[in-house]
Amino acid sequence: MSMFGMGLGRPQTDYDENKVNAYKGEMLMASHMRETMTNVCYAKCIPDHYSEPDLNKGEGNCVDRCAAKFFQAIKIVGTDLQNQASKM
């Protein structure tokens, strides 16, 4: 998911801005990724979230599979965008 490690900013400070920006971009992406995965897998796996305080076995398994599929989906859906972003 390295989309931001390129020519943004210029080293004029006491640290390498390109490097800091690249890290920042990855952290921003990771933060949005976690939030999105939290939302989509909740919608798919926790239908009756207000009747029982525990995750039952089926819900837990569903979360595991949802997470695995979500990370596979990111690689498929994002290919074009990453190509585009790396040309920025």
Partner: protein
Amino acid sequence: MEHLGAPTPKEQKKLEEINVDLMMNGIAGIYMSMVGRCFTHCINDLTSKSLSGKEEKCLKTCGEKFMKYQQRVDLRYGEESANLQ
């Protein structure tokens, strides 16, 4: 992210700052989105100003379940992220 080279102490400091900001914002965002979801589901009577026993129980259950859900998601998220690198 090793392909970027190890950060210097100055950079490390900057990155920690960014990290703390994003982490706090992420927690606040996920937490409030959970509150919003549980509220939307559990509160249907707006003719009174205080929660009924039923609403309170529903909110408590919804919050507890979400916490357990979040822990499970974060566990998987950590594992899958580690595999990506």
